[in-house]
Each structure stands twice: as C-alpha cells, then as structure tokens.
C-alpha cells in the first residue's frame, strides 16, 4: 500500500488543486452561455416546435454517457496492461458520473419522446442499448461496492468494463443498423454536419459545458477516491499499531 503514498497520486492531487478552479470557472461560463443560447438564440424547429430545446441537453448527455464509458475502458486497459496506479481510481470515479449522464440522456429522451412519438418509451435498438449501458454502469458500481479490497475490485471491474465496451459501437450505429424511431446522427458524420449553424452552435457550446462538467466532477471524485484509499491504509495501520497509552491503562483495572 505504500505505493499509494508516493509520486503519482500525490503529484496528481497537487495538479488537481491547480487545475480544478480554472476548470470550474470555465464550466460555469460555458453552461451559462450554452443555456442562454439554447433558450434565446436557437430557433424553434419547423417540425418539432419548441421541444427541440430538449435536444441541447439530451444530445450532450448522450455523448457524455458514451465518452465516460470510453474513458473507463481506456482506464481499464491502464489497470490491466500498464498497471498505472491511477487507472482504477479513474475508472471507479467515472462510473457514478457516467451513470448520471446516461440517466439524464434517458430521462430527457423520454420527455422528448412523449410529445413527439406519443410514448415515453419504445423498445427500439438505440433506447434499449442505452438502457443496457445504464445497467452496465450500475452493475460496475455495485461490483466495486461489494468487494472489500480496492485492488482486486479494480481488476475485476476492469475486465467487466472491457467486455461491456462491446456495447458502445452497438449504441453508436444502432440508428443505422436497425430501422428505429430515433433519428440518425446529424452532427457526427463523415460528410460533415447536416444541421443548421443556428442550432449547431448552441449544441456545441452545451457539449463543451457538459464535457467540462464531467472533468470537474471526475477530478473531484478521483481526489475522493485517493483519499478513501489513504483512509483505508491508515486504518489498517491504526488497527495494527498497539496503542501505548491504552496498554498502560489496561494494567491497572485488570489486576
């Protein structure tokens, strides 16, 4: 466990200390700008009317849910292949945040779907694969919770994360592979976005705001995780160290 006391985590914590205020500030600015643009600058859609404004949180949340899982998958490779000491910290810290973004994507999606499709939920490929993503996130969180030793839990979770990463391409291409209600991708395309700039800009600003939010939360959660491991190490040490004061105190009443 002494490994954790040195070099990387300590240096990382110092870095977080410096970077975090700037990131937080940027995140607040970007969110404010994004919210303003999505409500006051973006026009209403000729088909969907005002509900198109839900898109400005739905699409970034959906992107983030996948980006977060990609980060976890890379971190898992870091745990298993490169054995980087911060890799499983990063993976563990990302899971609840990813679950929250996935939840947001699902909720906003069904609140958008009700007025557009007439139902909160349909079992089509895109929606179902995102739901599966949410279950994966929750399963990973539970796996981490149930295993006592963080090193073992990290390895087990890394294996599961990498296997679950097969779901990512399914989510991405589900709209192309299957015939679904969900509209196809319009921003991330090989032949350039098919979307009007008045809509594209607010969307991009919101996406930047969400990404910054993710990194702020991720860094904070990673810092917590490092602290949690320190607490664990110290507690093990505290239990094993016989306390001199209490040893003196026992001598009298026992006689």
């Amino acid at each position: 466990m002494a490994f954790w006391d040195y070099a990387n985590p300590t240096r990382f914590l110092k870095l977080v200390q410096v970077v975090l205020p700037w990131l937080t500030g940027l995140c607040v600015l970007a969110s404010a700008a994004g919210l303003y643009m999505s409500f006051f600058i973006a026009p209403e859609d000729y088909q969907q009317g005002q509900t198109v404004r839900i898109m400005y949180i739905h699409v970034p949340a959906a992107w983030l849910s996948m980006m977060c899982y990609s980060i976890m998958a890379v971190s898992s490779l870091g745990t298993l292949v490169w054995k980087h000491p911060l890799a499983d910290v990063s993976a563990k810290a990302a899971a609840p945040i990813g679950a929250a973004f996935t939840f947001m994507a699902l909720v906003t999606g069904s609140l958008w779907g009700k007025p557009m499709w007439g139902t909160y939920w349909v079992w089509d490929a895109r929606l179902t694969s995102v739901l599966v993503l949410l279950i994966m996130y929750l399963g990973l969180m539970t796996l981490w919770r149930t295993m006592e030793d963080p090193i073992k839990a990290g390895k087990a979770a890394a294996v599961l994360t990498l296997v679950g990463a097969l779901n990512l391409p399914v989510i991405k291409f589900s709209v192309d592979w299957w015939n679904t209600l969900h509209q196809p991708a319009s921003v991330m395309r090989m032949d350039g976005p098919t979307i009007h700039p008045d809509i594209l800009w607010p969307l991009l600003v919101m996406a930047v705001a969400f990404t910054l939010l993710f990194f702020v939360l991720h860094l904070m959660a990673m810092r917590n995780e490092i602290m949690r491991r320190r607490v664990r190490t110290l507690r093990l040490r505290a239990a094993s160290a016989a306390h001199p004061r209490s040893a003196v105190a026992t001598a009298q009443p026992a006689e």
């Binding site: 939920w121 079992w123 089509d124 006592e148």
Partner: protein
C-alpha cells in the same frame, strides 16, 4: 423491548447498506429482469402494457428471493445466531425485526423503482399507481414467507436455489392477488378493493406465520 429491537433493526439496516452489503443489488436485478422480458416477448407496447403488472410482480418476487439467502446465513456463519438464541429475547420477534430491516433495505427500493420501470412497460398512470401500491403492501409478505425458506436452508452452503424452490409455491397466493388487484385497477368493471384487501390480509397472516415458523426452524437447526 424497544431498545434492543431498535438496536437490532439499526444493525441489520447498516449491514445491508454498508460496503459489502447487498441492498441495491436487488433493484438492479429487478431492472435487469424487466429489461429482458421485452426481448423475449417482443417490443409490442400494447402487449407489454397488458402484461406489465405481471412482469413487475414476477420481477419483484425474483429480486426478493435473490436477496433472502443471506438473511440468517450471514449470522450463522460467524456464530451470531448462537448468541441470538441465548440473548434472552423472543426469537419470533427477532425474526420479525430482521425481516422488517431486510424489507426496508431491499423491498422498499423495489417499490420505489416500480413506477420508473412501469414507464418502460408503457403502463397507464392508474396502473402504475395500482402496481406500486400492491407491491408496497405485498412485498413484505414475500420477505416474511421467504424468511421461512431462509431459516430452513440456513445451514446449507448453496441454499439460495433450494430456498427459491421452497418459497415459490408458498408465494403464489401473494402473486395471484397482487397481480389481480393491479389488473382490476386497469380494467374498469372488476373491483380493485376485493383482491387488494385479500393481499393486505395475506401480508398480515405472513407477519404471524413467517416469524413463528422461521423461529422454530432456526431452533431445530442449532441442534
């Protein structure tokens, strides 16, 4: 009476919520079961909304059974059960309180999750409310009946599967009246209150029979 009961309740609740506990696994399993059904029966929303209450009830039953095998086994494995038998507290009450704590940690989350999952199954708001209400009243019965199975299989290493087999037949009445009350709320002419009151009665009966039978089984088991 109140101090020791409260201490036991708090302890069991803490154990299931803390690291290594299993409080939320049940909800996750519930979610997984409900997600899997549409793959099996096809994504037809009309069909799903018709069988939705049944799916939710079966999901809740399975999720409850899943978590029950550790109800007494964890205490037996580390010698706590022996001490509980000698503690000078009525064992029936001890079982009842353990069941209550177990239900708060695992059954109540299922009830809370039910309306959310009902959205996936395209249930009407009325049906959603009815299913949630029947689950709120009915899941304690499942826990209390399951406790009998948990007490009978307490000394078996792999008791979980046997537990499910033993308990499912006993839980069928609860399932019947739970689903028929929920269905009655959807289809107008059938009265909702009749099956619902029977369900309440079943829970109350289970609250008496469950602890008595489990306590007897635990006493024999320690011999």
């Amino acid at each position: 009476m109140s101090t020791w009961a409260l201490a036991l309740f708090q302890r069991d609740l803490r154990l299931s919520v803390r690291v290594g506990g299993s409080a939320l696994v049940g909800v996750l399993f519930f979610l997984a079961v409900v997600t899997v059904i549409p793959f099996g029966v096809g994504p037809d929303l009309n069909l799903l909304s018709r069988i939705g209450p049944a799916i939710l009830w079966i999901g809740a039953l399975l999720a409850t059974l899943l978590g029950l095998d550790r109800l007494f086994q964890a205490d037996r494995d580390d010698g706590t059960l022996d001490l509980m038998l000698m503690a000078g507290r009525p064992l029936e009450l001890v079982v009842l309180i353990k069941c209550l704590a177990h239900w708060v940690a695992t059954g109540l989350p299922l009830v809370v999750a039910a309306p959310l999952l009902a959205i996936f199954l395209n249930l009407e708001p009325a049906a959603m409310g009815a299913v949630t209400l029947t689950l709120l009243v009915g899941t304690p019965a499942l826990t209390l009946i399951g406790a009998i199975g948990a007490a009978l299989t307490v000394s078996l290493r792999r008791g979980g599967l046997l537990l499910a087999v033993l308990v499912v037949p006993l839980a069928i009445p609860v399932l019947i009246f739970g689903v028929s009350a929920a269905d009655a709320a959807i289809h107008d002419p059938v009265p909702f209150l009749t099956p619902f009151l029977i369900l309440c009665a079943l829970s109350l009966i289970a609250a008496v029979i469950g602890p008595i039978a489990s306590a007897a089984a635990l006493r024999f088991e320690s011999d």
